[in-house]
């Protein structure tokens, strides 16, 4: 099992997959920063004053990590970053679900209109797993 997970191809496929997801997410947010800032607010996770900074910088870190993964340049660093971000997003969604907050998640900008909930949480956990595999040191 471990052998399969750390196989060069498995790792590469996971890198491209999570890279594409992150690229789509980043571009969706960059197209409408204003809305994304509102979505950040809905999570009630950071102080209001800091919310806009998250909205300004997060999509770019996502995009760069995605490019690193897709192009295979500094892919491991990109993968570790995406795994860290996925972990953070999972915590953000979990706390929102636990607090009973009901809002559109803004995960892909406002493009998909998906709401925060148990389904989104499951989706996040799957992507977190893919990101973790993508950050494994491939056996060559």
């Amino acid at each position: 099992m471990k052998g399969l997970l750390t196989h060069r191809r498995t790792v590469r496929v996971c890198q491209v997959l999570i890279g594409l997801v992150f690229a789509a997410a980043a571009l969706g947010k960059l197209g409408d920063l204003d809305s994304f800032a509102t979505q950040v607010h809905y999570f009630r996770l950071v102080p209001v004053a800091v919310e806009n900074l998250v909205a300004i910088f997060l999509p770019w870190v996502e995009l760069l990590a995605a490019l690193a993964l897709i192009l295979g340049v500094r892919a491991r660093a990109g993968a570790l970053l995406t795994a860290a971000m996925m972990a953070l997003f999972t915590v953000a969604v979990s706390q929102a679900v636990l607090r009973g907050l009901d809002f559109e998640c803004g995960c892909f900008g406002t493009a998909d209109g998906s709401r925060v909930g148990v389904l989104k949480l499951a989706e996040n956990l799957v992507m977190l797993a893919v990101a973790v595999i993508a950050s494994l040191r491939p056996r060559s």
């Binding site: 509102t38 209001v48 004053a49 900074l53 910088f57 491991r76 009901d102 559109e104 998909d112 209109g113």
Partner: protein, 202 residues
């Protein structure tokens, strides 16, 4: 800043820092340019509470708390029901409407009410006459928003109140899709119901 990361000896830690710093620089640059072009692309550096800072449409009720307009179907010369209602200014974004003002508009049948909650919640109980436009459905269908026939009336969005902010999101979408008079009823359905105002549903 060294070799590509497929090398075993690369240092992902340092490369992560490089990606982070580059991201910060690009973000800052993009925002500076965005601030000068389109409010959607460039935002203020410091955030503010949007709901708190949303302008509020004050009630035009007299000092006795009663609306200053009335209608009398037997008297065609009576002041139309909309006469005493506050003017809705165009401030470039949606405006909050408090319960008392909404009730005035509701009584005069002078608003187009949109329920942003999910269909099942809407079915059970809603503000009478409200249509259901769940946020997740609305957002994926821009034409639906643009072509919404409000009969010339201002739109009021509401949702589950409290921590539910779907109504503000929906109001913003409606506003950006071309509707000029969009109001948000932040109190939402729970406040309306608690006030003992009419509801309909199964």
């Amino acid at each position: 800043m060294s070799q590509p990361s497929h090398g075993e000896g690369s240092a992902p830690g340092r490369e992560m820092v490089v990606i982070l710093i580059t991201g910060l620089l690009l973000g800052a640059g993009y925002n500076v340019i965005g601030q000068r072009s389109d409010p959607r692309w460039g935002i203020d550096w410091i955030g503010e509470d949007r709901l708190e800072n949303l302008p509020t449409l004050e009630s035009s009720a007299g000092p006795d708390g009663l609306p200053s307009a009335y209608t009398d179907i037997d008297d065609p010369l009576a002041i139309p029901a909309t006469a005493g209602l506050p003017e809705i200014p165009n401030v470039g974004r949606p405006i909050q409407i408090p319960l008392a003002t909404l009730k005035q508009f509701f009584d005069a049948d002078a608003v187009f009410i949109v329920d942003a909650r999910e269909a099942d919640e809407y079915e059970i109980s809603r503000i009478p006459g409200a249509i259901n436009l769940p946020y997740d459905q609305a957002i994926t269908d821009p034409e639906l928003l643009e072509n919404l026939d409000t009969g010339g009336r201002p739109i009021v969005t509401y949702c589950g109140g409290g921590s539910c902010e779907l109504s503000l999101s929906l109001a913003e979408e409606l506003f950006y899709s071309g509707h000029e008079k969009v109001l948000v009823y932040v109190g939402g359905f729970p406040e309306w119901q608690a006030a003992g105002y009419p509801t309909e549903g199964s």
